[in-house]
Amino acid sequence: MPQYPNRQFLDFEQPIKELYEHIEENKKLAEKNAKVDYRGIIQQLEDSIVDKRKEITQHLTPWQRVQLSRHPDRPYTLKYIENMTTNFVELHGDRNVKDDKAMVGGFADLDGQTVMFIGQQKGINTKARQLRNFGMANPEGYRKALRLMRLAEKFNKPVVTLIDTPGAFPGLEAEERGQGEAIARNIYEMIRLKVPIIVVIIGEGASGGALGIGVGDKVLMMENTWYTVISPESCSSILWRSWDKKEVAAEQLRLTSLDMKSFGLVDEIVPEPLGGAHWDYVESANILKSYILKSIEEFKQYTPEQRMNMRIEKFGKMGFWDEVEETEEMQ
């Protein structure tokens, strides 16, 4: 986890940055003036950083949540796996085309039980971001995910998917290899998978790219994440015909965890440390781990058939419509 001064700050996090700068100044003064005691004031400033973190998260706009979900210091899939599990063995390849670096997965030990973890992975620096294709998987990524799910099914291990993607990759080769088909196949197979599936949105949950590993018995959403049908930017460009309405689009889409929970489209919100997951990787992972363990326990008790029917029913209920009087109409 990066520490100040390597920490990065979003525009609305600037007050925190200023507090850090004050601390630095005071530390320098303390070095120069051994006679004066600066510990008190430094402690005070450190406390106000915690207060500020709390204050900021209390009044976040939907767009600011989107920004937090993309925070450059935010922990990604492999970071969560590292902090939640032991004995992680990463597995590669879809056995067909290649190994998609934007989608990672493998078996790991989660509190004494073997679990299959699958998730989109973003890079932590420019080079890594390119390698990971900014967390945008190609068809082979989704097929790799499906292969790993089948593997888990064969050995009766629960599956946990961690979603963090700005969308499935819109590329030429992706289309040639059937991006739509790959996602559709995953959605279909995940409905039928015989082992429990726990889905967690840990960052960005954009559209089919997210849902391609997003069907499960329980869908958890971390506090400062978003999940909807399109990114606010693309929505703005299509519906408002301009790239400048992303804030409005973010509001209209109702994409925050609170909204999604209130609509019943996700089951639970996983709280994050004060100010967001990027302030404490270990704490975020610990909180998430407790939610995952609880969810696995909850769904272990059912038979595979029960779980499948519950999934069909769960997603079958989603939607809103009116029914008017007047039924069949003969042509």
């Binding site: 499935a168 819109p170 991006q179 559209s207 049908v229 693309s234 989603m318 939607g319 069949e328 109409e329």
Partner: protein, 332 residues
Amino acid sequence: MTAEHGLKKLLIHQTPYFCYPQFRIMSIKKEEDIDNSLSGENIPEHATEHKGKWYKRLRKGITTSTADKKETPEGLWNKCPECNYICTTAELKEHLYVCPKCNYHHRIGSEDYYDILFDNQEYIVLFDNIRSKDFLGFTDLKPYQKRLDEIHAKTDLKDSMRVAVGKLNGQEMVIACMDFEFIGGSLGSVMGEKFSRAVDYCIEYHLPYMVISKSGGARMMESAFSLMQLAKTSGKLAQLSDAQLPFISLLTDPTFGGISASFGMLGDLNIAEPGALIGFAGPRVIKETIKKDLPPGFQRSEFLLDHGFLDFIVDRSKLKDRLAQLIVLFRN
């Protein structure tokens, strides 16, 4: 009089002004943006084109008063967007809205498909009482509810999909068909629910199921609810599959986004009309992402067949016979 002025005057006299608009239409290359269809607004073509005026109109344009204006009936003639062949709408209809010259398949709605496919044009429309509503209070340039009301007022369509049951050469089948006119055939809660009930109906009456897709993708005005329809419909297909009933997915021009990322690509058979544009991401988005021109024929039915995602491509004129033949093969 300057030389320039003289030249302008000369041009005006030598070239009748009504030539210019025609010249303009011919010279503009038509390229469609699939995503824009989802905005629910039909922007007139070339609305954004703007040409600087280099001549001055000296005489008044149209001097006929409105009272004396002779109306030409709309939609009497039809021009093929592919080969510019002009024929009467009646002739086109006789050819099942396929260009007699170049086999271009015009976009048609559910009503036309049902008329083409069902014996004696007899069929029963199902679940037509389900209507979209604006649960989220979604407002972009217009409130979603207003959009819905406007389309309801303008067309007979209730939503972007209709479901009907009828017979094809005596073989009974349930066919769900999208209407592109209705917010780009977008997938929303109503389509998801109609799809689900159609599956239940097929299971109850032991009938094969076909979906004719023609859509820009998920309906953004329903936000995450529209996304979840991908899972909802796929779940229902699992039930249809367990009942061992065939599901045929017919992809027509255009089919994108959420449709191809769910039931559109999940057919026991995936088939398509010739030349249909089918894909996950729209061509404009791909072009902007890879910053390269797309190869000719990219995302067309023939391209998909070549890459192994379609079972076959079928002409509209042969569609009915082929489907009936398949139902018999599945059943026997």
